[in-house]
């Protein structure tokens, strides 16, 4: 019954009231003067006042709308009553007729008002409905636009990665050349910058891929303990640098082999542990893995916990943290990053049929918990290969082996000169002859002409793409056995699968090409001989080749006078002073013919000359270790001497 109160009708009520009052008096045939203020009129006035007050109130409070309606009705009825019960009016006077007709008109107007309001209300409802459908459409439009953006980005992957090939590839190559230390450190900066940028790009692309719903899960049997070991290796350097402790605790109940997407699980752990390492300045990082529902031997609930002793995150920010582009605003400035890591992690966890939560650790820090439900278990009695843990073992073997192949001929097909140059340079000095082609048909022709041992084929080339060329090579009876390796910036998982599924290629290399990847791929087809890095071997074998005679004295010197100096340079961090400290170490090393000391000084000197802060710090802070090592050597010597003494005494007897 409140439907008619939806519009602003204050003015209308007021007018109705005045008319009613006026008409009542007219109907009574009472001249309008002060004497006409009868109790009835006063009563009507009072009601009218209330009416007005509520009319004004109406704008603010809807609660009063019902009262309002009743008041209106009352005014109407009371005036009608007065009209009906006009005493002693026999002949109709003009005012009485006017009043009666006026009341009739008012009644009609009132009915109209009600009808109008009903219509208006209905229209309002319709409008609201239409609005909501419009809204839904708009939202759909926005969503599809967002999806288009994501699809676009996912497709852009190729074009974004292509220039990175030059940056990372060439700096990787340069770092293997004989450069002086300063040049080396410049190359390292380019390389690490490039790699950071690439990982950033990968993050953004991943997120768009997830949003475009193009990310799939590929469950496979994995060994979670092996995976955690790998992760420990990856983070060991950072953990050591920051002097943190990494504890990995895998409960005995966790099955050895479980079926999960190993690649994604690795990324989830990588993101979570990476975050923990990044934000923790002191203390430990603990990874706990346990499984539940052991009575159901086929499927388990797997729980992964990553706990850190970092600054922790305010509880009200927990949810926002999993949204893309959100970081704890108090820390985004100081820790860098895109704020995509956790958003991606959450998506990945959900993709693997799990959920992830965050809670604060008692005593500071945070605990991320990822739970995966219904994880199938593979019984170890039936040995199953673990492709994820075996195939990637070498991925983190950053230093490419110095290897050489036996007089091979390669065909390199790529439309970009610089990419061909990069491959050529990587292969240079490996007893490999390179033939080039810059499009598909040319690649086929040259293959026919030169009969290369392997064809490295770019997929996207103008004038005949790589797949077409590969098909032609495969179709030719004399060339069909030539191994073809696809080289492409289409490096997404599904690209790789698509390319390999075509059955045309024997191998796959993602741009940016890393030497290690290339050689690993080539090793599958050709045996290689390892070239011994003589210089490195010499250094590795050197430290205690010549045991200094006065080792006790040396240690004492290192622990007192030099230790004070070391502490001072650690505090003041003046490059020149560190250099002089290094000189001193070098000199003492030479004097006492202690190779370890000499090398330490040499390394420190080089790094301080290059202003390579991180490396220099690593060397500088290794000073206590140096003393420790010397002491161990001393004990060794003493032991040996004792043994000799014993032997001597034995023989004496």
């Amino acid at each position: 019954m409140f439907f008619w109160a939806t519009r602003d009708k204050t003015y209308y009520y007021y007018l109705t009231f005045l008319t009613s009052l006026f008409l009542t008096h007219c109907a009574h045939d009472i001249p309008i003067s002060y004497s006409c203020i009868t109790p009835t009129a006063l009563f009507i006035c009072a009601i009218a006042f209330l009416h007005l007050a509520f009319s004004l109130w109406e704008k603010k409070k809807k609660v009063f709308q019902s009262i309002h309606f009743l008041l209106h009705l009352f005014v109407f009825l009371s005036t009608s009553y007065h009209l009906v019960s006009v005493p002693g009016v026999s002949s109709p006077t003009l005012p009485a007729v006017l009043a009666k007709s006026g009341l009739l008109i008012q009644g009609i107007a009132f009915s109209f008002l009600i009808v109008k309001n009903i219509r208006l209300t209905l229209r309002d409802k319709r409008d609201a409905q239409r609005l909501s459908t419009e809204e839904i459409q708009a939202r759909k439009k926005a969503e599809s636009a967002n999806q288009a953006k994501s699809t676009f980005l996912a497709n852009m992957s190729h074009d974004i990665r292509t220039p990175m090939n030059a940056v990372i590839g060439f700096s990787d190559l340069l770092s293997g050349m004989s450069l002086n230390e300063q040049q080396q450190s410049c190359v390292r900066a380019i390389s690490s910058g490039g790699k950071n940028l690439l990982s950033l790009i990968n993050d953004i692309l991943d997120l768009s891929k997830i949003e475009a719903k193009k990310m799939d899960s590929h469950p496979e049997p994995i060994r979670i303990r092996t995976l955690l070991d790998e992760i420990r290796k990856i983070f060991s350097l950072k953990i050591k640098e920051k002097q943190l402790n990494l504890h990995i605790e895998v409960a005995d109940t966790v099955p050895a082999l479980i079926v999960l997407d190993g690649t994604q699980l690795r990324r989830i752990l990588f993101n979570l542990i990476g975050n923990a390492v990044k934000f923790t300045r002191k203390g430990h990082i603990r990874i706990r893995v346990h499984s539940e529902q052991p009575e159901n031997k086929e499927k388990v609930l797997l729980v992964l916990e990553v706990e850190d002793t970092g600054p922790g995150i305010r509880a009200d920010l927990h949810e926002a943290l999993f949204q893309p582009f959100q970081q704890d605003s108090t820390s985004s400035e100081r820790n860098g990053g895109t704020g995509l890591g956790l958003a991606i992690t959450r998506h990945l966890v959900e993709l693997m049929n799990g959920d992830i939560t965050l809670r604060n650790r008692v005593g500071g820090g945070s605990i991320f918990t990822a739970r995966f439900v219904d994880v199938p278990v593979v019984h170890t009695s039936s040995p199953s290969p673990s492709p994820s843990s075996s195939s990637d073992d070498e991925t983190y073997d950053a230093a490419p082996k110095k290897i050489a192949f036996e007089n091979l001929t390669f065909l390199i097909a790529d439309d970009l000169q610089e990419h061909r140059d990069l491959l050529k340079k990587i292969l240079a000095g490996k007893r490999i002859q390179c033939i080039e082609a810059d499009n598909g048909p040319q690649a086929v022709e040259r293959t026919r002409q030169h009969r290369p041992d392997v064809v490295l084929l770019d997929i996207r080339m103008p004038g005949g793409d790589g797949s077409m060329a590969a098909r032609q090579i495969r179709e030719s009876s004399e060339l069909c056995h030539t191994p073809i390796i696809a080289v492409t910036a289409f490096a997404l998982q599904q690209d790789r699968e698509k390319i390999m599924a075509s059955g045309l290629f024997d191998g796959f290399l993602a741009k940016p090409i890393l030497q290690a990847d290339l050689f690993r791929e080539l090793n599958r087809f050709f045996p290689s001989t390892e070239v011994k890095d003589e210089k490195k071997e010499m250094l590795a074998g050197a430290p205690l080749a010549e045991v200094p005679q006065n080792i006790a004295l040396l240690i004492q010197q290192l622990e007192t006078e030099l230790f004070v100096l070391w502490q001072e340079v650690c505090r003041t961090k003046v490059f020149g002073d560190i250099g002089r400290f290094a000189d001193k170490m070098r000199a003492i090393g030479q004097e006492s013919s202690c190779t370890m000391l000499f090398n330490y000084g040499e390394r420190l000197k080089t790094q301080s000359n290059n202003f390579a802060v991180e490396k220099m710090k690593t060397v500088l802070y290794a000073y206590p270790d140096l003393i420790e090592q010397l002491r161990a050597a001393q004990q060794n010597i003493e032991k040996k001497e004792e043994e000799i003494d014993e032997n001597n005494t034995n023989t004496d007897r």
């Binding site: 300063q182 820390s331 100081r334 003046v574 490059f575 290059n610 202003f611 802060v613």
Partner: protein, 93 residues
Amino acid sequence: MKTIRILIVDDTPENIQAAASILARQGYAIAFAEDGESALEQVTEVHFDLILLDIVMPDMDGYEVCGRLKKDLASKGYSCHLSDPKGRYRKHC
């Protein structure tokens, strides 16, 4: 002539490396600090003629370092130069 000492405060090691390489070539003695706290400690031990101060740093930003330097060491007359790649904080100067 006395060597001019410069302290570079930056949380990004590469930035220190770049600045130090350039400045050392001009014959300055260079020291570095990777956070505000250690910069303030170093300043009490060694006198620096100039401090290059990064603004966006963890824990203690360039302003705070600068403020504390000026407060504690007003008599030493340090001059602070802000290195602010994004130009966002120019108005604060």
